[in-house]
């Protein structure tokens, strides 16, 4: 089969519907966002000055190109709110990813080493919460973390603390929310990597005198690397752009870029600024993905 070929009429009909849908409702809107991000902000509806239109003549296009502005991007760099939002998003997402990994790894290991007939049930139970409402699962944590919430009440009843700990409306609460919500994304790839491992490798290491700790550090852990990397990306990437968790569990000073963007759009009506922030966010998230892809290709090439 040639690598690139023309499709038959029937094949074109099959591909037309999904292709048109993506072009109309994903590619075109993304280009529009890119366009708005270089437009000037005006007080109108829609609140930006359009740059290009299909009806423009070449001369008009040239005239309008003078309007082209990188103001929104410049503002992005100079505006401390945005800079802090990006940095704080990255920090919170990184800490949350690390904690998710620490929680998920032993959990996945225990599932992978459970008797074989129990494994499908265990994995089913671990993934089931993922099918329930994300919003409700985040909401459930409010009742636990609040000042007069269940955790504080339990700790005070036990006499461990005398005054309630401030947990709700802190960056820590956001981290807990991310760990809880995204745990299945970390669990599944690590479990898959661990379950595939050949038990005879560990036995061989033990026979050759390795202690259980050495077996884990030098056989089990390195062999599950792919699962750890995939899981970390699956948690980190959505966590950076998260809106619901910081909005419900974080305090007003817990900045995350998804939330800042939302506020800029809905409260401040600054579409060019929000669009520039969106484009910058997409560019930011492409970096880990491309690095991952490159590492994967290199590994495949080495094989």
């Amino acid at each position: 089969m040639s690598r690139r070929r023309r499709l038959s009429l029937g094949q074109r009909l099959v591909i037309a519907a999904p292709y048109l849908w993506i072009a109309a409702f994903f590619l075109a809107p993304m280009l529009l966002v890119a366009k708005i991000s270089v437009s000037q902000s005006v007080l109108a509806r829609p609140p930006y000055r359009p740059i290009f239109q299909f009806s423009d003549s070449l001369a008009e296009l040239w005239a309008k190109a003078q309007d082209f502005t990188l103001d929104s991007y410049r503002a992005l760099v100079n505006d401390t709110l945005y800079v802090e939002s990006y940095l704080s998003s990255l920090t919170i997402a990184a800490i949350a990813t690390l904690i998710t990994l620490i929680v998920a790894y032993p959990f996945a290991l225990a599932m992978a080493r459970a008797p074989e007939r129990l494994r499908p049930i265990l994995i089913g139970l671990a993934v089931a919460p993922f099918w329930t409402s994300f919003l409700i699962r985040v909401y459930a944590w409010i009742a636990l973390l609040k000042d007069e919430g269940l955790i504080n009440n339990a700790l005070m009843a036990l006499g461990l603390i005398s005054a309630p700990l401030q947990m709700y409306a802190t960056p820590g609460a956001v981290v807990v929310g991310i760990v809880y919500s995204y745990l299945p994304f970390m669990l599944l790839p690590i479990y898959a990597a661990l379950e595939r491992q050949d038990a005879s490798l560990r036995e061989a290491a033990a026979d050759l005198g390795a202690s259980p700790a050495q077996v884990f550090l030098r056989v089990t852990l390195p062999l599950s690397r792919e699962g750890v990397i995939a899981g970390s990306l699956l948690v980190f990437i959505p966590a950076v752009g998260e809106f619901v968790i910081p909005d419900l569990l974080g305090g007003s000073e817990t900045l995350m870029i998804g939330r800042t963007l939302w506020n800029d759009f809905f409260s401040n009506h600054d579409w060019p600024a929000a669009s520039a922030a969106a484009i910058a966010l997409v560019a930011l998230l492409m970096v880990p993905l491309l690095l991952w892809e490159r590492a994967r290709l290199k590994e495949e090439g080495a094989r």
């Binding site: 690139r4 919460p129 009440n153």
Partner: protein, 277 residues
């Protein structure tokens, strides 16, 4: 395995499941609490559920959410099926890379960005926002998930079976409909359910894509939740959790039954190899 390791494994599993399920269980218990306060148990009561029935706004939103989930999951499953067929069976066509990238991009794109893009597009086109734009938004969001699920299923089923059907005179569409489609039927159901639950649950895309007449259930829940914990929200949350639990239980029972049947079928085949051949 040593006894100590076995205990450690069980303790880890227990701790993991407590972490996963405790918040959900507590929420469910609170929904039957007669007291408004989280920390006070005022006795068992179903009054918050009764109050739900009088909450016209919430019921209306629930209807809109269910309708949007039904319509958008149907469209997303169909489009996802077509996209998966193109990616799995058409080989390397010219714009495959663009198509592949665009189909998968919403998976990693923050929802806020996708929502913003859709809204600017609707405003630029001058389309009034409401139920239709809500469905468009949800199809765009969920189509990538259905494509991924169906693509995996299509790759798992053997293309030589379809080729055999075509050698025997079936046209490619016939071969697909009568050979491949029955094989991926369970994946189609899974893809539909995935799209359905994602649509039912979505807050971010809906907030951007919908209009005043079509406020979804998550949007109502969200605006209530921002004001703090509310017993009525506990009640509706419990109902939604129960719905998912029943659906998952049914799905598990069906897959268990199917697995058992296949297993028995294989055992019969294994016992009489001469008859099978």
């Amino acid at each position: 395995m040593s006894a100590a390791a076995s205990y450690a494994r069980r303790a880890t599993l227990l701790a993991g499941f407590v972490f996963l399920y405790a918040p959900i269980v507590i929420l469910t218990v609170m929904s039957f609490n007669a007291s408004r306060l989280v920390s006070v148990w005022g006795g068992f009561s179903t009054k918050w559920y009764v109050a739900l029935l009088d909450n016209e706004q919430l019921l209306h939103s629930a209807k809109i959410s269910l309708a949007a989930a039904l319509v958008s999951a149907t469209i997303a499953t169909l489009l996802g099926l077509l996209a998966a067929v193109a990616l799995a069976r058409f080989g390397g066509f010219r714009t495959r890379l663009l198509f592949f990238g665009a189909v998968h991009a919403p998976l990693v794109l923050p929802e806020v960005v996708l929502g913003l893009a859709l809204l600017t597009c609707f405003v630029a086109l001058g389309v009034g926002r409401g139920f239709v734009t809500l469905v468009i938004g949800h199809v765009t969001l969920t189509m990538c998930f259905t494509t991924v699920a169906l693509l995996a299923a299509l790759r798992d089923c053997d293309p030589t079976l379809e080729e055999a059907a075509m050698d025997l005179g079936a046209t490619p569409p016939e071969a697909f409909l009568r050979v491949a489609l029955p094989q991926i039927a369970p994946a189609i159901v899974t893809a539909f359910l995935l799209a359905f639950t994602l649509s039912l649950d979505d807050l971010v895309i809906a907030s951007f894509a919908t209009g005043p007449g079509a406020t979804t259930l998550p949007m109502r829940i969200y605006s209530q939740v921002r004001l703090g914990v509310s017993p009525q929200i506990n009640a509706i949350s419990t109902l939604l959790l129960a719905l998912v639990a029943v659906a998952l239980g049914l799905a598990a029972a069906v897959s268990y039954w199917r697995a058992g049947r296949n297993f028995r079928g294989m055992k019969t085949l294994a016992r009489s190899p001469d008859k099978a051949s």
